[in-house]
């Protein structure tokens, strides 16, 4: 038996890629809301890996930490990756203040994406609340890119106040299309708001799509997703055709550290997109 050199290094291939960030450059920063910006990133070296709508990148600031942010741009656009970031903690606040030319660490993309193919030949119902429109936007782009493959398409979007509506220019552009129905509501109106005031599940109840033929994609605060999913199942949509995007404390993003579990599921690898039929009951259990 030969004696191996105990100091011989085993190159950490494969998984090292997933755990070690690469440097990406900030190309553009677009303010969205009072505390939210959209940051466009591209790798300093090499190509940007392809991603699926709904997947997540881990963005880090040197020596500070990492946060998971959904990719919220158009998957068909090569090279640039768009991320909408709300300043909520130390790292995200730092990320919300970057300027073009700054570098950011990026790992990813990770997780499951929206199953857009499941809606082929069916009605597409997109239900977003607050910042939840950001992870859904790539799915909207993906459907619009092949619009003829789907039946009716509806976007239901709710936010706290009109000032909290994300991507308002885009919302107007989508509303102007004849093949996409956009319904927006706010919890509380401000002066000059001529639109609806109410809750997103209320929009769902008036949906008018054929429940037997629809697939729904939900993202937003968990309470909103729960009530909207219930409203959808009350209309007759099967729970297996309702997809939700969940968030938990995702750290490693590769199913090793154990932080992001919800019952049997790892949100970083089994999710973040999961069918309501799998997680609906789990989401109702307190502190699970």
């Amino acid at each position: 038996m030969t004696t191996a050199d105990p100091a011989a290094a085993v190159a950490a291939a494969g998984t090292a890629e997933d755990l070690v960030p690469r440097s990406w450059r900030v190309l553009a920063v677009t303010p969205e809301l009072v505390d939210t910006v959209t940051v466009d990133l591209a790798p300093v070296r090499g190509p940007a890996p392809p991603y699926l709508p709904g997947q997540v990148n881990m963005l880090s600031l040197f020596g500070l930490g990492e946060v998971p942010i959904s990719v919220s741009g158009d998957p068909a656009v090569p090279g640039v990756r768009r991320h909408t970031i709300r300043a909520a903690g130390a790292v995200s606040t730092g990320l919300a203040r970057v300027r073009p030319g700054d570098t950011v660490g990026v790992r990813g993309p990770f997780g499951t994406g929206w199953d857009v193919a499941a809606a082929t030949g069916r009605d597409v119902v997109v239900v977003a609340g607050g910042l939840g429109l950001a992870p859904l936007r790539p799915a909207i782009y993906a459907v619009l890119a092949r619009r003829a493959e789907f039946d009716r398409m509806v976007l239901l979007y709710g936010s706290r106040t009109p000032a909290d509506l994300l991507y308002s220019d885009e919302l107007h552009a989508w509303r102007a299309r004849f093949d996409l129905e956009v319904k927006v509501t706010v919890d509380r109106a401000s002066a000059g708001w001529a639109g609806e005031v109410g809750v997103v599940p209320g929009l769902v109840r008036r949906l008018g799509v054929d429940p037997g033929n629809a697939v729904a994609y939900l993202c937003g605060p968990e309470v909103m997703m729960r009530f909207a999913a219930d409203a959808l199942t009350d209309l007759g949509l099967p729970a297996g055709r309702i997809q939700v995007s969940l968030e938990r404390n995702m750290k490693c993003m590769v199913g090793l550290c154990g932080h992001c579990v919800l019952g049997p599921y790892y949100i970083c690898t089994d999710g973040p997109v999961l069918p309501w039929s799998a997680v609906g009951d789990l989401m109702r259990v307190r502190e699970l």
Partner: protein, 155 residues
């Protein structure tokens, strides 16, 4: 001295002004609840087959989610009725109803009552008409609270 749930029913503010026949129809469907602090009377998403006419203590309506602190929506106390989801399809609790301290209540079998209300329109209308003002009152209160009157971001 223990008062029977049926006798308590007739004296409860929600039922006290209802016709004797209406109360008599509900009486066989009641039982007594004595809940401990923290006891869950109804859980969001679960079938709502009962409602409670509170006689003592306080019940909180709550909603919880992983991504927010637990929210206390409203509290109800002696004299109030907790739960109307038994009356409204899909007959499922919309929020959690939790006893804040020790609670005593008259528990009514709402599923059976609903069947009787369907069978007897006079009974049905009498009870539904009794519930409607309660629900409207809560709705108005909620709307007023939505105004966030005591907040700082209004002129």
């Amino acid at each position: 001295m223990t008062v029977s749930p049926a006798a308590e029913l007739a004296a409860h503010p929600f039922f006290v002004d209802l016709a004797d026949e209406v109360v008599a129809a509900v009486a066989p469907l009641v039982s007594r609840l004595d809940a401990d602090p923290g006891q869950v009377l109804g859980r969001e998403g679960e079938p709502a087959g009962v409602f409670y006419a509170l006689t003592a203590g306080r019940v909180a309506l709550e909603v919880h989610a992983a991504d927010r602190p637990p929210a206390l929506l409203e509290t109800l106390q002696a004299g109030d009725v907790v739960g109307w989801s038994w009356l409204v399809p899909p007959y499922r609790w919309h929020f959690d109803a939790v006893a804040v301290g020790p609670v005593s209540a008259i528990r009514v079998d709402g599923a059976r009552l609903r069947a009787e209300m369907d069978a007897d329109p006079v009974l049905g209308y009498a009870l539904a008409a009794r519930f409607i003002p309660v629900i409207v009152d809560r709705l108005q209160a909620t709307r007023l609270r939505l105004l966030d009157l005591y907040g700082h971001d209004h002129r």
